[in-house]
């Protein structure tokens, strides 16, 4: 037992402030910590995944998304198994067991293509989606890639260390009808009208060029043809 713990490599401490566009972290009334135990399956027995431990993630604060990732590295046999999955274009599955405060334990499943995790050299992203009270509703393991694959083989050296990034993703506040700015806009328009700012201050030519140009062209053409006629009769 002791040796296993020694082998645990402290891979990464990822402290991440959530990158979403309009995040107001104050939205979450509750703040809490999560501990997530992750298991993965590198081979299947008649379609039933055989699970082995992959590591632990602890989210110290769901509000600011501060996480601590602690994952085992893959043994050569495990790397080989993963490579076999990738070569035969099979699925790689993780199961996350989430312990929330209040001792609730929930299981989440996420599956991705083994060749994609192999191609990314075990650089995956874990998305932990929370509902509006900060409870976990889904955990997904994804690979940042522009295309999917249909089987791939990698050198086993590259399939050893997980470099996972964890994103804690909150539920945003829904939009509300924006009546205030609309009324403001209407009032501004009204004021502008009263002041007469809306008047067209462009010059006469700028305003009516589209009417003037055809008239001029017609005049030029007709005068030109007149000149021809007179020339011909002469």
């Amino acid at each position: 037992m002791v040796s296993i713990y020694e082998n645990l490599t402290f891979l990464a401490v990822v402290v991440q402030l959530f990158l979403f566009q309009y995040v107001r972290s104050s939205l979450l009334d509750h703040d809490g910590a999560l501990t997530i135990k992750i298991e993965h399956s590198l081979n299947f027995n008649k379609g039933i995944p055989i699970l082995t431990e992959r590591g632990n993630i602890s989210v110290q604060s769901t509000r600011i998304g501060q996480t601590l990732v602690n994952q085992k590295h893959l043994t050569p046999t495990e790397s080989q198994l993963l490579n076999d999955l990738a070569e035969s274009n099979q699925f790689y599955q993780i199961r996350a067991f989430v312990n929330e405060e209040g001792n609730e334990r929930n299981k989440f499943i996420s599956t991705l293509k083994a060749c994609m995790i192999a191609e990314s050299e075990l650089d995956d992203r874990l998305s932990i989606s929370l509902d509006y009270t900060g409870r976990v509703v889904a955990i997904s393991d994804i690979i940042a890639s522009k295309s999917s694959c249909e089987g791939a083989s990698m050198s086993l050296e590259k399939l050893k260390y997980f470099t996972s990034t964890v994103y804690v993703r909150h539920t945003e506040m829904g939009p509300v009808p924006d009546t205030a700015s609309y009324i403001q806009r209407l009032e501004r328009e009204k004021e502008a009208k009263e002041k007469g700012e809306g008047k067209d201050n462009r010059s006469f030519l700028a305003k009516y060029w589209m009417y003037i140009v055809p008239v001029v062209i017609i005049m030029v053409i007709s005068s030109g043809s007149n000149a021809e006629n007179t020339g011909a009769s002469n």
Binding site: G47, D131, Y132, A138, S148, R169, I183
Partner: protein, 863 residues
């Protein structure tokens, strides 16, 4: 338009602005166009009570409708729809000079005029025990003081019936069954009882029975006896069937009951009339339509020798039978008032077109046989052109150029399938599936209707499959049929298990038939038809599905284990105690025409079009915010939550509409006590990650979400979006309101605006207005009120501009909408004559001028 006056100036501005925008978008109807393409059929629901009065047939139904029907044609004279059928169900119905109804748990007595649907009085009654209150119906005044009756003997209220002033119940004291009754209006009323003498075994039941003398029916083991309350209770000796009905004629009372006619296979039904002692028997054979379920008598009326009987079948059809002729005067299919699934079907090509298609299909390369084939088919075509095909001419079910003529197949809750012609609204065929009811699980709606093959592949007929629940066993039943003709080669197939989920696959076999898979509780998968298993095995890695369970949504993929198909759980999404309020996926046939939105600076903002996205709405109970509505956008393959948002203090019902790269939902905001509509739009950004194909696994960046919310100044019942063949036409939301209107809201009006980009006419963008203007001109059903809308179905026509719309509920309304106007057809009032005249005139003028010119040239030459 300018004449509309409003007291609030800001409102006036909103309105003027919106009118000026709307006038470009909405094409309303001229008076003479009403009913040209649209039709409406009104229903009343399953009839509960019926009576004759004032030459009308008055009915009260389970949909909480009171209506008057024309006895000669069965047409609706008037209809009064009452709300809330769950709590205010009509319990008593009486036709005298006018109509009296008693409805609901919190009892309300209503008094209606018989000639129009006018409500004369409403009298609310409170109290939970028997209490007698007398009213003057005409004025609604209470007569005297209410009288209370002590009812400790009332244990089982279901075994009671009332008849005029008598109230009677069946009670069992050990082995002895007795009838206890009370005269409610007698001065010193007391409960009397009489033992029941019945030779039949089983439990006795009591049914109400209309008669001059107050009476009830005692039923035991499908045998009925009439009980008269006079001074004493009298149980008549003669036995009847439980559906016996008393009809008063000139001579006296005649009792009618329905019997099955064993001897005559042509006329299956026998109406038997007799008096209460079994004398004066009349027996009339009725040619009962074979497609209808078993009938029972609702009401009757006699005049001299003629008697009219109103029958209802167990599949909710109303029939009006005249005896002694035994002729069915009219039938009303009230099953259509509760539709659970709708599908639009293209019609097959005409025989002429089919033969032209077949002419080029021959595989033979031999010149001579090809030549013979060509001569043969062309001579056939010639004869057809001149003589015309009799078969097709009769039915006229032939595809037109624009795909405007379609067949709508609807499945009703009672298990009856109807095919309806879009042009006329008439039923082409109907088919009753006995003991078939909708599913009660959360997957894929009430029933599943799969279009396996359309009529495009002549000579193969179109094929459609219905999956529903067997009422008796609870297992799944399958019914495969040709939607054009209604023919089914195998009939109703009973599966031996419950199907948990089913899915139509996009792959076609060599006969152009799309197989579908059924998934069972034990994760096993079956392919229908079985020969297509090979196809499914070939595509096994690209088939994914999801199932909604009590507390989670689970995603599955298919896998092959020992050459057997199985589901494999791929992902899960937990509700965490919330309740599912709605789930929506994109319409399966939808095409997205443009990949992005062009911004005013001429750059393109690419849409995030994920065909696998599922929109889920949940409602959670919250101690602080009462109820919270959460919306999740989930990728159906990886299970990743793409986006999530929540509305606090929001309440259902939630309507979700998901199309292209956007989602629209409506809900009730409890804080401001108003209905709101929110729109979300997803974009990839200025760079497209992969322009050739979409993979859910390849997620390079999260989509950028634009959101905007609006006040909806109406109560939406159902929301949907228009669908066109190629998706070029602008989208329009169709919102069915509780007022009976279906309004069209252009998507451009609710599309979220970019915060940093100007919005105005130059950018073809409507400035943001917090309240969605709902204009009377935008109502697609103009003045045709549609009651209790339960769904709106949309299908594209072959004309890009046009969509077919079927709104169903208590009324069925079909119309066509063109959100961007009919840009691809000439207007109806296009002046063909003028253009022909002008053309002829021009040709004539050119010839005249030519001769004139030549003449002039000759003259010039002679000069």
């Amino acid at each position: 338009m300018d004449g509309i006056l409003f007291h609030v100036s800001s409102k006036l501005l909103i309105l003027l602005l919106s009118i000026s925008y709307f006038t470009q978008e909405i094409s309303c109807l001229y008076e003479d166009q009403a009913g040209k393409v649209d039709w409406k059929i009104s229903f009343i629901g399953k009839v509960k009570y019926a009576d004759f009065g004032n030459n009308k047939l008055l009915v009260a139904t389970e949909e909480n409708v009171i209506a008057a029907l024309n006895t000669k044609t069965g047409d609706l004279l008037w209809r009064q729809v009452m709300e809330n059928e769950a709590e205010q169900q009509i319990q008593f119905f009486n036709v005298n000079k006018d109509v009296t109804t008693v409805s609901g748990d919190q009892t309300v007595v209503s008094y209606w005029s018989i000639n129009n649907k006018e409500l004369i009085h409403v009298i609310p009654i409170e109290g939970s025990h028997i209490e007698i209150t007398s009213f003057y119906l005409e004025t609604g005044e209470i007569k005297g003081i209410p009288k209370k009756i002590n009812t400790p003997w009332l244990k089982d209220a279901f075994k009671c019936a009332s008849s005029k002033q008598y109230f009677a119940c069946v009670q069992k004291n050990g082995e002895i069954e007795q009838i206890r009754y009370i005269n409610l209006i007698a001065e010193n009323s007391e409960v009397l009882s009489k033992p029941i003498e019945f030779s039949e075994t089983g439990e006795a039941e009591i049914l109400s029975f209309e008669h001059e003398i107050p009476s009830v029916l005692l039923v035991k083991n499908n045998v009925a006896k009439i009980v008269h309350f006079k001074n004493d209770v009298e149980i008549l000796a003669k036995t009847f069937l439980p559906n016996v009905v008393n009809v008063k004629n000139d001579v006296g009372n005649q009792l009618y009951q329905l019997e099955i006619n064993v001897n005559n296979p042509e006329k299956l039904l026998k109406v038997k009339g007799q008096d209460k002692d079994g004398n004066n028997q009349v027996s009339v054979d009725v040619e009962y339509p074979k497609g209808l379920g078993a009938p029972y008598i609702l009401a009757g009326q006699c005049r001299t020798n003629n008697c009219d009987l109103l029958l209802s079948s167990i599949d909710h059809a109303l029939l009006f039978v005249r005896i002694p002729e035994g002729k069915i005067l009219w039938t009303r299919e009230e099953a259509l008032s509760d539709i659970v699934a709708v599908e639009f079907f293209e019609l097959p090509v005409s025989e002429l077109d089919a033969s032209i298609e077949n002419e080029f299909k021959t595989s033979s390369q031999d010149i001579l046989s090809m030549f013979i084939n060509r001569i043969l088919t062309q001579s056939k075509q010639l004869t057809k052109v001149f003589i015309g095909s009799q078969l097709m001419m009769n039915s006229m079910l032939v595809r037109d150029d624009f795909g405007l003529h379609k067949i709508i197949v609807v499945v009703t809750r009672i298990g009856k399938i109807f095919a309806i012609d879009t042009l006329s609204g008439q039923t082409v065929w109907s088919y009753r599936l006995p003991h078939v009811v909708p599913f009660d699980n959360r997957n894929g709606g009430d029933v599943m209707l799969f279009v396996q093959r359309t009529a495009r592949y002549s000579p193969f007929p179109a094929q459609c499959t219905l999956l529903a629940k067997d009422d008796t066993t609870g297992n799944t039943v399958m019914f495969q049929f040709d939607p054009i003709t209604g023919l089914s080669s195998r009939g109703v197939v009973k599966l031996d298990r419950k199907v948990k989920q089913a899915m139509l696959l996009p792959y076609e076999d060599k006969n152009h038939l799309k197989p579908f898979i059924t998934i069972y509780e034990d994760h096993s998968v079956k392919v229908h038809p079985e020969e297509s298993t090979v196809i499914v095995k070939k595509h096994v890695s690209s088939i994914y599905l999801y199932m909604v369970d009590e507390d989670a949504i689970n995603g599955y993929s298919l896998q092959l284990i020992d050459d057997r198909l199985q589901t494999f759980r791929h992902w899960n999404f937990l509700f965490r105690g919330s309740k599912l309020a709605g789930i929506s996926t994109r319409p399966s046939g939808e095409r997205v025409h443009s990949q992005g939105r062009v911004l005013p600076d001429r750059s393109v903002y690419y849409k995030y079009v994920n065909p696998n996205m599922i929109a889920v709405a949940t409602i959670s109970e919250d101690p602080v915010n009462k109820q919270v509505l959460s919306i999740y956008l989930i990728d159906g393959i990886t299970g990743m939550v793409i986006y999530a948002l929540a509305h606090k203090r929001a309440r259902g019902p939630v309507n979700l509409v998901h199309s292209e790269n956007w989602l629209v939902y409506t809900f009730f905001n409890e804080r401001y006590r108003r209905r709101e509509l929110a729109a979300l739009e997803l974009y990839e950004g200025h760079v497209q990650s992969n322009s050739t194909f979409f993979s859910s696994y390849a997620m390079s960046q999260l989509p950028q979400v634009q959101a905007q919310s609006y006040i909806l100044p109406a109560v939406p019942l159902k929301v949907t979006v228009t669908l066109t063949e190629r998706g070029i036409t602008n989208k329009c939301l169709l919102v069915a309101l509780n007022t009976g209107a279906v309004v069209e809201i252009p998507w451009a009006l609710i599309q979220p605006r970019f915060a940093d980009i100007p919005c105005g006419p130059e950018e073809s963008c409507y400035p943001y207005m917090p309240e969605i203007p709902l204009h009377p001109e935008a109502t697609i059903n103009y003045n045709q009120t549609l009651s209790k809308v339960k769904g709106i179905s949309v299908a594209p026509a072959r004309l890009e501009s046009t969509s077919h719309i079927l709104v169903h509920g208590l009324d069925m309304f079909y119309t066509r909408v063109a959100p961007s106007k009919t840009f691809d057809v000439l207007k109806e009032d296009f002046d063909y004559k003028l253009i022909i005249l002008v053309l002829i005139g021009l040709i004539a003028a050119s010839y005249v001028s030519k001769t004139l010119a030549s003449r002039k040239a000759i003259k010039q030459a002679w000069k």
